[in-house]
Amino acid sequence: MSGPTLARGLNAFKEQIDAPTASFFSSCVHCGMCAEACLFFTETRDPKYTPIYKLEPLRKVWWQEYTFWGKLASTVGLSKPVTDAELTEWETLVYDSCTMCGRCTMVCPVGNDITYMIRKMREGMAASGHAPPGLIGATQRAVTIGSPMGVKYPALEAQIRHTEEEIGFSIPVDVVGADYLCTLSSMEIMNFPEYIGAIARIFHETGVSWTISSEAFEATNSGIQIGVSEIAAVLVERIVKAAEKLKVKAVISPECGHAYMAIRWEGPNLIGRPYSFKVVHILEVLDELRKAGKLRTTGKESRRLTYHDPCQISRRGGVYEQPRNLLKMVAENFVEMPDTGIMNWCCGAGGGVSANERAEVLKMKAFKRKKAQLDAVAPDALVTACANCRIQLEEGLEENHMDIPVISLTETIAEHLAGETHPEARPS
């Protein structure tokens, strides 16, 4: 293990640059519109947070390696290669001030997918030792312990037992042949264990055959956040092995943003082969059950609700209609925030920013954009479908003295579940 070096970083840049990247860098006209789409710029007004500027080192390598004048200039020494100092300077731009939320990608008039390139640039940054310490720790724990927060199965097992007591029936673990393998994110296991109870009650009510795997319960993947595809592949491989061992038809990604991106969209490309099973987000499963008429709810939330679209699930994941369908079942006073759906503003904590203590102050400043959005509709409660968003939203709302509870969509559905069968009496 030779450890991170500048050479490995630049080499990774060269590997990552492909036709879309070349086309994007050829098209950028420096119009600055992506800045106005990025909450890290709008809330700081600091031009260095302009999204396309965050890619400058990668652009330089593209120009020097894959264009005529660039190749010529660099060969004759006119254009100097990227230095380690530059990467150090860009570290806070590529990690601390970017959640890979994808809003700049939706706005760029010439169609540059800046997020696509940030994901690629992080491959070089991490390989040259420029990943933020917090994220490195989380990634190391994810690989060695199995969860970025160091949650081991016994802890989950205790949560499961606790939940089983509460809901009155058992939660299937390592059941071969189940239809669905349900994965969880450490945040849920630790901060919002009610989520486990919620899905258990829903699946129990709708007769869904599912299981949790003791070997691969962790859905999150800090490999794609830090930008090391090989590590991300290791984490995905665990879930794939468990899914294939349990012979499930589909894997459910939980209420977590980047987990969905990792397992649903990047997974097959990371491990290099398509899955033998489907991957669905919990909201997709609930919406399927709704369509099939299996999911029946009673009573409506009278509170004024609005929905925060987690970026990796909605804009970059494609799951944006399902939450609306589900909310219409349980909310009579549901209002949409301005710039909602696939144009929603990020909470400020995704893409590894929350795991990066250095970015704490910036993350809170970025939340002001979400505050402005919420002020426009002044909801009584804020529904979302990502545990990390929930934590950031709760902290942000608290810091801005806004008393708006943040609730999970799945848990809300569970609370309104119709025809709760009597939990069999458990022997005392």
Partner: protein, 150 residues
């Protein structure tokens, strides 16, 4: 007193209590796990909850204090988890449940306080890796029955 045999009956009895009594009962549940939380704000909240004549705005400020305690104690994404801290987090949540106004959450405040307290116990058991399955539950039944008989 009829002996409570399972959570279903436990929940039925708790939800049948009127709000003020649910609050003082919830306070007892939280007191049983209070040593797990070293945030003194939470113990103050529990005192307010335990006081049957606590005024509405006293309860509101207590709720707000509890909420701040929750946010200060929940685990940060990606940080190394510490189940002892998590236990404190759940005690804070139990305290918040105790003082939250009726109806804001599905199910009574006592039930939620009981569940969060029990989760705090679970976190402690994870930390010390001992198996006290059901012990916390039985203790809560005893607290309820004592409360009803008193």
């Amino acid at each position: 007193m009829t002996e409570i045999r399972n959570d279903f009956e436990f929940r039925q009895k708790l939800d049948s209590l009127e709000p003020a009594r649910q609050r003082t009962l919830a306070a007892r549940f939280v007191e049983s796990v209070l040593p797990l939380c070293d945030d003194e704000r939470v113990s103050r909240v529990v005192k307010v909850a335990a006081n049957p004549h606590a005024s509405a705005d006293e309860l509101a400020t207590a709720l707000h204090t509890a909420k701040v305690a929750i946010i200060d104690s929940h685990a940060r994404c990606g940080a190394e988890c510490d189940w002892k801290d998590q236990a404190g987090y759940f005690v804070a949540r139990a305290a918040a449940a105790a003082v939250s106004p009726a109806g804001q959450m599905a199910g009574g405040s006592a039930w939620h306080a009981a569940m969060s307290s029990r989760m705090a116990e679970t976190c402690r058991s994870i930390d010390t890796a001992e198996d006290n399955a059901g012990q916390a539950r039985k203790q809560q039944y005893r607290i309820l029955s004592e409360y009803l008989t008193a």
